[in-house]
């Protein structure tokens, strides 16, 4: 198995995203947590990522505000600016950093979407990326012309392929050529508004763990955004994805697997563990603990005492995963004599890499060296300074190991990721 020597790094703006798929990761309380409404925190994070020679910054977006038990969820950061618009502004305050946005492919129309992303790609001179979201959230349909879709994943996949045709539609010497497409979900024709971009096409990022997500990524994506997993599980996933790539006639170089991770540093291992626990404690307020429990139990637990024991009643759900999780949490609470809140702090929102800068750099390098990942998407736990520490303390160690670039070689996101310029499809 060929192994990459270099790893790739990206950062996601913390807050609205659900990259870790567990309890939220962002500490928003306290003065250090910057607002996501002003431009300055975005600019600061982008500049920090560029200082750290990161491949790209990802701005995540949910198509709707999250709800819990039929009401708007109040406990996690929600709401924020439209990511592509923000990235266009960030393109002006950075020079090399890749700029990726989550854009939902279930509700948009290919022409508008292709044009919006191609604009970013041109104005940033080839630094755009698109994380294709295919959220099947039916509620989001209530805000869009087309309403819900019976086949959201099918539509998203078709939209990506149509969008790529539009990006490729001009002749290599910059002359518009007509396109026509008729498929299951779209029937469109005309001329696209923009030539191919400096990197050919924006980088397409696919997220997810499902069979379907892996298959879609292996078939056409440039980056797979994965969930963090232990080394062995990550290696077998990586091998699985490579098999799938081969089946689609693609090489391992054509797709990067990058898990979303959280990192907590300390001068000693013990201090790092202590900090990590402190962050979880700060995050998981008494109310948040009840919320986390309600998400598993599926029932109203607002009457429970967060500092008291776990509820006696069984979860009101038949979801096997939820039932198993509930059983694990109960066993943990029994074994260690933990309250509801202590159980949630202990069991959820576990940071991916905790340790000294040296040990974290070694761990990250091991994942890449042993064929478990091509790089990582860092989810800073505080918007204000979460990335600074990593850039200042871990990046130099990765560079010393020869595991990370010491300067940007190319100007485009594709060149950072070592992806070839796509051959026009027509």
């Amino acid at each position: 198995m060929t192994v990459r020597r270099h790893l790739h790094l990206a950062a996601v703006f913390p807050g609205a995203g659900h990259l870790d798929a567990g309890a939220g990761t962002t500490v928003w309380a306290g003065e250090r947590a910057g607002s996501r409404l002003a431009f300055a925190p975005f600019e600061r994070l982008a500049r920090t990522a560029e200082r750290g020679l990161f491949d790209f910054l990802l701005l995540d977006e949910e198509p709707r505000l999250p709800e819990h038990r039929g009401r708007l969820h109040e406990l996690d950061p929600a709401g924020g600016p439209e990511p592509v618009a923000v990235l266009n502004a960030l393109a002006g305050v950075t020079a090399r950093l890749g700029l990726a946005a989550t854009v939902n492919a279930v509700f948009g129309e290919p022409y508008e979407l292709a044009r919006r992303l191609a604009t970013l790609d041109h104005l940033s001179e080839g630094r755009a990326g698109w994380r294709v979201a295919a959220s099947a959230d039916a509620r989001a349909g209530a805000d869009h012309r087309c309403g819900g879709h019976p086949d959201p994943y099918g539509r998203a996949a078709e939209l990506v392929s149509v969008t790529r045709r539009l990006w490729d539609s001009w002749s290599p010497d910059g002359v518009p050529r007509p396109f026509a497409y008729r498929g299951r979900h779209f029937d469109i024709a005309g001329e696209f508004g923009l030539p191919r971009s400096p990197q050919g096409q924006p980088v397409v990022i696919q997220a997810g763990e499902s069979e379907r997500a892996r298959e879609l990524a292996a078939a056409s994506a440039d980056v797979l955004l994965a969930r963090h997993a232990p080394l062995e599980a990550s290696r077998s996933r990586y091998a699985d994805i490579r098999r799938r790539l081969a089946a689609h006639g693609r090489t391992p170089q054509d797709l990067l697997v990058m898990p979303g991770v959280t990192v907590v540093l300390g001068d000693t291992a013990a201090e790092a563990q202590e900090r990590a626990a402190g962050i979880r404690r700060q995050r998981i307020t008494p109310r948040y603990a009840l919320y986390a429990l309600e998400r598993i139990w599926g029932t109203d637990l607002s009457g429970c005492d967060p500092d008291g024991p776990l509820p006696e009643t069984a979860p009101g759900t038949r979801d096997g995963r939820a039932l198993a999780l509930a059983e694990r949490w109960r066993a943990l609470a029994r074994e260690k004599g933990l309250s509801i809140r202590e159980t949630v702090i202990e069991a959820s929102g576990r940071q991916s890499f905790v340790g000294t800068p040296d040990s974290v750099a070694a761990d990250l390098h091991r994942y890449v060296g042993e064929g478990a990942a091509d790089g990582f998407v860092l989810v800073p736990q505080t918007p204000a300074d979460g990335l600074e520490e990593f850039v200042d303390r871990v990046v130099p160690l990765l560079q010393e190991r020869g595991a990370f670039r010491t300067e940007y070689r190319g100007g485009t996101l594709r060149s950072h990721l070592g992806l070839s310029r796509p051959v026009p499809q027509r």
Binding site: L72, E74, G79, E82, V84, V93, F107, D143, R145, G190
Partner: protein, 371 residues
């Protein structure tokens, strides 16, 4: 200026349109030039019918490179998602710290309809009615978060106060939206809505929803007439007419000489005012009324129309942006400033402040409520 109604100062805006240009730097340069002249705002037109970048994307790029000038991209409403459009405009307002506007336009051709394949082209009346609905629902979505709904209350662990977020439950003729928005209420409350009100169906939308109406008029009498009718119509919609700024939109070609307007382009202000001091007036062309002459004569024209109460100001569309905008700022604007007719610095920081427009109240906020 105290004699003028509306209590308004002269307002000036310029277009940055450069067909085929994809280089961010050249838009930034022009916007900075316009900002040096103290202009209220710049516009960037957009249409699916011709090649070119997404205008809102370009002006997002311009935002961090400028500090005061208003940024008004065109976003069309016929084939786009209203939810996405309002979110993008609100985001520009956040990035520019209260400097966003939105020029509302429609798509009328079958060619544009085919790019989307959702429906056939519709007559102007229908698409403008829908544009009005989009303008309406956008304001509702901007209001769907009350100011300060993001409470970050450490004591209760609540990031949001859901009592200050609202569904909009809007059902229009061609779309419906439930809300609330994903973007918190923008700094200006409502970014400035701009509509070219020259034609009838658009004029109704302008009178009802616009903060700034553009009128393409070659003669002062025509401009005054449209302005009067717009204000009357705004009143009939229950608005105060002074909440609407009406700007005359002219193509300008400042390529011919420093002073003399091209002979034969003269158009004395018959009826409503005095003669122009030797300058030329605009002439009707296929593209719209075009002023061709020197920057000084353009200043005369601006001053004369404005003094006569024909207009609240001008939206000037340079024929050759790089050349004409420079002459506009260093010639026309400098002269107007010298005469005390136009601001020499920005006393305010938001586009609404430049235009003398109040920050609108939130339609969902409970009177005397918590916000």
């Amino acid at each position: 200026m105290s004699a003028r109604y509306g209590g308004g100062l002269l307002h000036l805006a310029a277009a940055l349109d450069q067909p085929g240009v994809l280089d961010a730097g050249s838009y930034v340069e022009l916007a900075r030039l316009a900002e040096r002249g103290g202009l209220d705002f710049v516009t960037l037109d957009d249409s699916f019918a011709r090649p070119g970048p997404d205008a809102l994307g370009v002006l997002c790029r311009v935002a961090p490179a400028t500090r005061r000038i208003g940024l008004v991209p065109t976003l069309t409403t016929t084939h786009t998602e209203p939810f996405q459009v309002q979110a993008a405009v609100a985001t520009l307002d956040w990035i520019g710290q209260g400097r966003a506007g939105w020029r509302i336009d429609v798509s009328t051709t079958e060619g544009e309809a085919r790019l989307f394949g959702r429906r056939h082209a519709a007559p102007a009346e229908a698409v403008w009615q829908e544009a009005g609905e989009v303008a309406d629902v956008a304001a509702k979505l901007w209001d769907s978060w009350e100011d300060g709904a993001e409470i970050r209350d450490v004591a209760t662990g609540r990031f949001l106060d859901r009592e200050r977020l609202h569904r909009v439950d809007f059902t229009g003729t061609a779309f419906s939206v439930r809300g609330p928005s994903t973007v918190p209420r923008p700094p200006q409350g409502h970014p400035v809505r701009v509509v070219d009100a020259t034609d009838g169906h658009a004029r109704t939308v302008a009178a009802r929803y616009a903060d700034v109406a553009l009128v393409r008029a070659a003669a002062p009498a025509q401009a005054a007439d449209v302005r009067d009718r717009l204000r009357e119509q705004a009143r009939s919609f229950g608005r105060h007419p002074d909440s609407l700024r009406v700007l005359v939109s002219l193509l300008v070609d400042l390529g011919d000489g420093e002073y003399a307007a091209e002979p034969g382009w003269g158009s004395p202000l018959s009826g409503r005012g005095r003669e122009l001091g030797g300058g030329g007036g605009p002439r009707s062309t296929v593209q719209g009324p075009l002023y061709r002459g020197g920057p000084v004569d353009l200043a005369e024209l601006v001053a004369a129309w404005y003094a006569d109460g024909v207009t609240d100001g001008f939206h000037l569309v340079p024929v050759e942006p790089r050349r004409d905008l420079e002459r506009l700022v260093n010639g026309t604007v400098a002269l107007l400033q010298h005469r005390g007719l136009f601001r020499t610095f920005y006393p305010g920081s938001t586009l609404r402040e430049h235009l003398g427009l109040a920050r609108p109240a939130n339609q969902y906020a409970v009177t005397g409520g918590t916000s």
